[in-house]
């Protein structure tokens, strides 16, 4: 019985004579886990997925599924499920034929095929669509068929390549929830490649952040959000304020010509980067840690977006609840006070 554990070690991937585009020393995906691979375009996340799928051969390294080395196996012998960004439904086959495709390749009999196709269509809520052609379906329905086609072969591991990014925002949120429910029900290991940090945070058991072909951080959504290891992670996940300066003492850093009361615990003279989430920054008309000038205020439904210049050229982004009476009374260009808790300051590494 396969369970869907993926172990990657010493992986180096590159094309032609160019340097490696992907270097991953160690990455294990546990059975039944939902792992998101998150990163900006060109970070190597699609290359990682294509390497696991077998479309790209690594220069060195081992990929094992349930303890079996699959590094040199062709894609069609790996038995993984794949959902593509463009859905890649066979345009000349009905929905049912699309679903049957993988079952026919496995030489599964007609009766069992019909039964499993029906079940898979039921799982994605398309019971009555078996005889439609792909071009007769909406984007969201095509997405479901693509998912059903991948799960009907009952793979222990399902790879999803930006699979929701071609759907509109509302549909995408619905599919995110549905995908997660299906994943829990089937117990399939899922590796989900995305550039959308919200999607990665809300859906995953763990998030693997890639940048420049390297693993920047691997952890639960909470860890990645609350304890970013590097400035890149802090910025990419949740767009934190990054304050770059030199420690004056343990409780102060200098940024350009200004000094800010930022607790870092670093020795004097050391360069330091501190991340501070915008929702941890409070803006008030009086009383706070630092005085600044409000340069921007925008209403965005459930919160205010604020921008305060706390020293020359040093800006802090803040988020305030719309019910905050203080913020409603502030004037852009006016003087304000900014404060934060020391516990919200995160010293991060530069990438």
């Amino acid at each position: 019985m396969s369970t869907g554990r993926i172990e990657i070690s010493g992986l180096r991937v590159g094309y032609g004579d160019a340097p490696d585009v992907l270097r991953i020393d160690e990455l294990t995906v546990e059975p039944g886990e939902f792992l998101s691979v998150l990163g900006p375009s060109g970070c190597g996340k699609s290359t990682l997925l294509n390497t696991i799928a077998g479309f790209v051969s690594p220069r060195t390294g081992v990929i094992a599924v349930d303890g079996n080395d699959v590094t040199v196996l062709p894609t069609y012998r790996r038995g993984l499920g794949l959902v593509f960004q463009s859905f890649a439904l066979f345009p000349h086959m009905s929905v049912a034929r699309n679903l049957e495709y993988g079952l026919r390749a496995r030489r599964i009999g007609r009766l069992e095929r019909a039964e499993r196709v029906e079940q898979a269509l039921h799982v994605v809520g398309l019971d009555d669509f078996a005889h439609r052609m792909p071009h007769q379906l909406s984007g969201g329905q095509q997405q479901r068929v693509a998912l059903a086609r991948a799960i009907v072969i009952q793979p222990s591991v399902l790879l999803l390549d930006e699979s929701l990014s071609s759907l509109d925002a509302k549909l995408r949120r619905g599919m995110q929830r549905e995908l997660r429910e299906i994943q829990r029900k089937l117990g399939t290991t899922m590796i989900f490649v995305t550039h959308d940090q919200d999607e990665a945070l809300t859906m995953s058991d763990r998030v693997a952040l890639l940048a420049g072909g390297r693993l920047e951080q691997l952890g639960t959504p909470e860890e990645v959000y609350q304890s970013p290891r590097t400035a890149f992670v802090a910025d990419f996940v949740g767009a934190a304020n990054l304050i770059r300066g030199v420690a004056v003492d343990e409780n102060t850093i200098s940024v350009g010509s200004a000094s800010l009361p930022v607790v870092t615990g670093m020795r004097a003279g050391e360069r330091v980067t501190v991340a501070l989430r915008s929702e941890a920054v409070r803006v008030t008309p009086s009383q706070g840690r630092v005085r600044g000038v409000l340069t921007y205020r925008a209403y965005s439904g459930d919160h205010w977006d604020l921008r305060v210049e706390v020293a020359e050229g040093v800006y802090l982004q803040a988020k305030a609840p719309v019910g905050d009476a203080d913020v409603a009374g502030l004037a852009v260009g006016g003087s304000v006070w900014v404060s934060w808790s020391d516990g919200d300051l995160i010293v991060v590494e530069e990438s």
């Binding site: 069609y76 012998r77 890649a88 390749a105 007769q136 086609r149």
Partner: protein, 290 residues
């Protein structure tokens, strides 16, 4: 008039298409009508065209063995050529459509179109040189000890077929390349990910999706092969049971123009029927796919 008359988009398009249309009518449609009338004209014992109406030519084509066997043989050759071109074209079209190696693609393309860029005379005499009794092919086979004395390869049907395929293959390859390029590459990946090996992927994805392109290439090859005469004439001589050569002989040697005209119309009719059938099949496929 207060307002000047400004041609609308449609009339402007018609005006622009006029020269080309006029040209086609003069050099193609008129002769075709003239040829049709000619094909029903009776002839005297000196093969001179007379006034009147007769079906003699058409009857002769289907009843006189000399004519009907040429028609049958040409149909067989055209059918065989079409199938052979389709089979041979796939791997080459695949390289042209999907290879990442641009040097390989360019070299392949040049080799593919070279028969079209070479004069038919040069190409055919090239074949003659290679295949002649003291040509390189015979000497190589003798040097290898495969044959003891030169084999007469010219004037044989397989060689004529070979040269026909050589000159018509580019048409099949080019149409097929276009068809293969339009197939979304992720479909191959999807097929592989579902457990299908290369053969299954070809049969269930590549073949059905490239079928419209394959059919249009096949139509072209079939129509061209059916009436082909210069290439077989130069390689295999005039004495072959081919429609093109029979027409040539009737018109240029025996000066019997009505029977040449009738023969041309029979060929045209066969081509049109085959093209109509293939178009119908390809439309059916398109409708299903939407």
């Amino acid at each position: 008039m207060a307002r000047g008359v400004r041609p609308t988009g449609r009339t402007r398009g018609t005006l622009l298409a006029l020269p080309a249309t006029a040209f086609l009518v003069i050099v193609f449609a008129f002769p075709l009508v003239f040829l049709l009338i000619l094909s029903f004209r009776p002839t005297n014992e000196y093969n001179e065209t007379l006034d009147g109406f007769t079906l003699d030519q058409y009857v002769a084509i289907f009843t006189r063995d000399y004519m009907s066997s040429a028609l049958l043989n040409s149909l067989q050759i055209a059918a065989f050529t079409t199938v052979a071109c389709a089979v041979l074209a796939y791997p080459v079209a695949w390289i042209l459509a999907r290879s990442n190696a641009s040097v390989l693609r360019t070299v392949t393309f040049l080799i593919v179109v070279s028969p079209l860029l070479t004069s038919v005379v040069v190409r055919s005499y090239g074949w003659r040189v290679i295949l002649s009794a003291n040509g390189p092919l015979n000497s190589t086979l003798m040097a290898l000890g495969i044959i003891d004395e030169p084999v007469s390869m010219l004037l044989t049907q397989p060689v004529v077929l070979l040269t026909i395929i050589h000159v018509l293959l580019p048409f099949a390859i080019i149409t097929l390349t276009t068809a293969l390029r339009t197939i979304d590459g992720t479909l191959y990946r999807a097929s592989e990910s579902l457990g299908a090996g290369p053969v299954r992927t070809f049969v269930t994805v590549t073949l059905p999706l490239s079928l419209p392109g394959l059919l249009s290439g096949a139509m072209l090859v079939f129509a061209l092969a059916l009436g082909i005469y210069v290439t077989p004439l130069l390689v295999g001589g005039a004495n072959q049971t081919l429609v093109g050569l029979r027409i040539y002989e009737q018109v240029m040697t025996l000066f019997n123009q009505p029977i040449g005209a009738a023969f041309s119309y029979v060929l045209l009719a066969i081509s049109l029927v085959v093209i109509a059938a293939m178009t119908w099949i390809s439309r059916r496929l398109e409708v299903k796919r939407g």
